[in-house]
């Protein structure tokens, strides 16, 4: 994927009766609205988001507690129910010109799915990249929060030597910046972990059937964190979904197989308008 850097703006939205300021990073201005839900490690405005910003206005919320200077916001949100309502409130307050597309990766995929299940008409379409949210005993999900940092590249990437893996795990040269980034990432894991610990499943399996939005499920075939077997679980539960499995790819398809992921996403977004009301079959 060509790295295009987009100009990033910020907007804070007062939610939760004024007790939480939910911060959005925004890029692009011409296109239809798209909301991106970040993974457990937090929001990084990567080439994938920059590419999406070419023909969409990308709104990327920062999970409560993970915005710079506001770590205690996480203590205002106690349950997945709180979190879903808070996000719905925030999206409503954005006053978008049309129902947005939602894309969520890993933890963000779970959040996007939860929102789509709670509020079936909230999103125009839904893209889930290796989402968390379900649990099967025979498909164990690795606990990333107790994984030593040195083992994370191999957990998240099929090829731990992939340039995207190196970019992600090479600390900044400036020691103060490196410390700040490490501390922020640890805290972010803690903030997102509040809603997936100890088992990343909060009853989503009972709610997935409520999703009626056209949905694309993308999974890296070699995901070491959330096994690709979960793609079928999501696909079967969401009757309006289609599954795409990307070979030679781990947990972060937009980083490890960026071009393929982008092509699948663009194809889906290009076609989903026409198919909005027609249920899709699980293709794989």
């Amino acid at each position: 994927m060509t790295a295009v850097s987009a100009e990033i703006r910020e907007r804070s939205v007062d939610v939760w009766n004024g007790t939480v300021k939910l911060r959005f990073k925004i890029a692009g201005s011409a296109g239809a609205p798209l909301i991106y839900f970040h993974p457990a490690a937090g929001l990084f405005f990567d080439p994938f988001l920059s590419a999406l910003a070419v023909d969409h206005t990308v709104y990327a919320p920062e999970h409560p507690g993970t915005s710079a200077g506001d770590p205690d916001a996480i203590h205002k949100v106690d349950s997945i129910w709180d979190l879903v309502l808070l996000y719905e409130e925030a999206i409503r307050r954005l006053d978008l010109p049309a129902a947005p597309v939602a894309i969520g990766q890993s933890f963000g995929g779970m959040m996007a799915a939860e929102l789509a299940a709670h509020f079936p008409s909230l999103f125009k379409s839904l893209i889930l990249l290796n989402p968390l949210g379900l649990w099967r005993e025979d498909l164990p999900i690795t606990n990333w929060m107790t994984t030593p940092p040195t083992a994370l590249p191999a957990l998240l990437f099929r090829d731990a030597q992939h340039p995207a893996a190196k970019a992600m795990f090479t600390p900044p040269k400036d020691p103060e910046e490196a410390l700040s980034r490490t501390a922020h990432m640890i805290w972010t894991f803690g903030c997102t972990g509040k809603f997936v610990w100890p088992i990343p499943e909060r009853g989503l399996h009972k709610r997935l059937h409520r999703i009626s939005t056209p949905t694309l499920i993308v999974w890296g075939a070699d995901d070491g964190l959330v096994p690709a077997g979960y793609a079928k679980e999501f696909g079967q539960a969401i009757t309006t979904s289609r599954i795409e499995i990307i070979p030679n790819c781990g947990h972060i398809p937009q980083a490890e197989q960026g071009d393929t992921t982008m092509r699948l996403v663009r194809d889906f977004l290009g076609s989903s308008d026409a198919d909005l009301d027609r249920p899709r079959e699980v293709s794989r």
């Binding site: 490490t182 501390a183 640890i186 894991f189 509040k194």
Partner: protein, 423 residues
């Protein structure tokens, strides 16, 4: 100075290469154990604490660790109940001190209040109520509490326990983590409004403030190497006390030190070195950092403090899994030697850091029953008597000790303040 004995029920027969293959907590394979050895571990553990009670220690202490090979005490209230009755039956005037039930781990805080109240009643008012926030691996992995909620649970559970002990009329509790339509526990503790409360911590300033503002004792464990960490932690505590205008009464401070004593220094090393290495290599040293410091369990400023400070509060923890005797002693994680050596070092530690309550762990790692008895007995005969008067020349009263045992408990705050809130 009050001197108590602390013991843990560790499994003593783990394979020599255990620490190279296994962790000492959470995932430790049970198949490594043998039933007879498990039975013996518990028997020798309780006998060690009873021996200490008979030999005149001021208190007996014990800890809580779920799913851990180095301390198989999943619930210290059970130990407290056994000791409360046995010491009562022998008329031993000794404090019963569960160092504690972790209130960050506890999902049933009212049950904790009930269990401690029962221990106080069985012992006739000799309970010292210890409440650590809790180890993250125990609270979060073993008991499933999200790491970011561990401190928040502690902050909610402690006032609930205190209210359950103190209030004379039933009350409803509408908490974030626990809701009860009617709390009216039977029995209430004999010590009213509350047995002395002690918080064990690792040096978090928020915990210091909690203890100081609410008149709780604060207890620190020296396993990370008291020579490395002690001066930092104690100084930080007393500075906080000074800032809060709290008197520098040494009796509000407790310290737990691992101690091995024999007739001479060289005998002590010969007798105890391998057991000490067993404890640190196969015990807490074999609990990996990623299970002790799980994201969310430490606040963002706390993480920044630790990263910036090169983990100074954690002493020689990073080396513990392979540390040899000399390194362990150099770090101050163990005081080992003749009665003279040990006495001198313990008095020095107590005086320098204003410690009014010393807890000594005399049963260490793989020590046999006989060696444990030797250690406890020699300490009681030759060291203990010399420690008693450390603070005798200063006019402090002990407000954090049961009145039945000579303490003069001060009125505790009626409502808990400064409970840390957001860590």
């Amino acid at each position: 100075m009050k001197v108590s004995a602390l013991a843990q029920a560790g499994y003593r027969n783990l394979p020599d290469d255990f620490e190279r293959h296994f962790d000492a907590g959470v995932t430790t394979p049970w198949h490594l154990t043998e039933p007879g050895e498990v039975h013996a571990a518990f028997r020798d553990y309780l006998d060690c604490l009873m021996l200490a009670a008979r030999l005149g220690f001021d208190g007996v202490g014990f800890t809580e660790h779920g799913q851990s090979s180095y301390d198989m005490v999943a619930n210290p209230s059970l130990v407290g109940a056994a000791l409360a009755y046995a010491t009562e039956a022998e008329n031993l005037k000794v404090a019963i001190n569960p160092v504690g039930r972790s209130l960050g781990k506890a999902r049933e805080p009212v049950r904790v209040a009930e269990e401690y109240a029962m221990i106080d009643c069985i012992s006739g008012g000799r309970l010292i109520a210890g409440f650590p926030v809790g180890l993250l691996y125990d609270a979060s992995i073993n008991n499933g509490v999200p790491p970011i909620e561990v401190r928040a649970r502690f902050d909610e559970n402690l006032p609930l326990v205190l209210k359950a002990w103190r209030d004379q009329t039933p009350f409803a509790w509408n908490g974030k983590f626990a809701q009860h339509p009617c709390v009216n526990i039977w029995p209430r503790p004999l010590q009213q409004p509350s047995p002395p409360v002690w918080i064990t911590g690792i040096g978090n300033p928020t915990t210091f403030q909690l203890a100081l503002k609410n008149n709780f004792g604060f207890n620190y464990f020296g396993w990370f190497g008291a020579k490395l960490t002690g001066p930092r932690i104690f100084e930080r505590f007393w500075e906080t006390a000074f800032r809060l205008n709290v008197p520098q009464n040494p009796y509000r401070m407790g310290f737990m030190q691992t101690v091995c004593v024999a007739e001479t220094d060289s005998q002590a090393e010969r007798k105890f070195a391998r057991h000490i290495e067993y404890f640190f290599n196969k015990g807490i040293g074999a609990v990996p950092l990623e299970k002790l410091a799980i994201p969310g369990g430490i606040s963002l400023p706390g993480i920044q403090f630790i990263l910036r400070d090169h983990a100074g509060d954690f002493g020689f923890y990073a080396k513990m899994r392979t540390a040899k005797f000399a390194e362990i002693v150099d770090a101050g994680a163990v005081v080992c030697g003749s009665p003279e050596t040990v006495t001198e070092q313990l008095i020095e530690i107590a005086r320098t850091n204003r410690i009014g309550n010393l807890m000594v762990m005399l049963k260490v790692g793989s020590m046999t029953r006989d060696l444990t008895e030797e250690n406890v007995t020699l300490f009681a005969q030759k060291v203990l008597p010399k420690l008693r008067n450390v603070w005798a020349n200063e006019p402090w009263e002990h407000h954090w000790w049961p009145s039945r045992l000579g303490g003069r408990p001060a009125a505790t705050a009626t409502e808990l303040t400064a409970t840390g809130g957001v860590q």
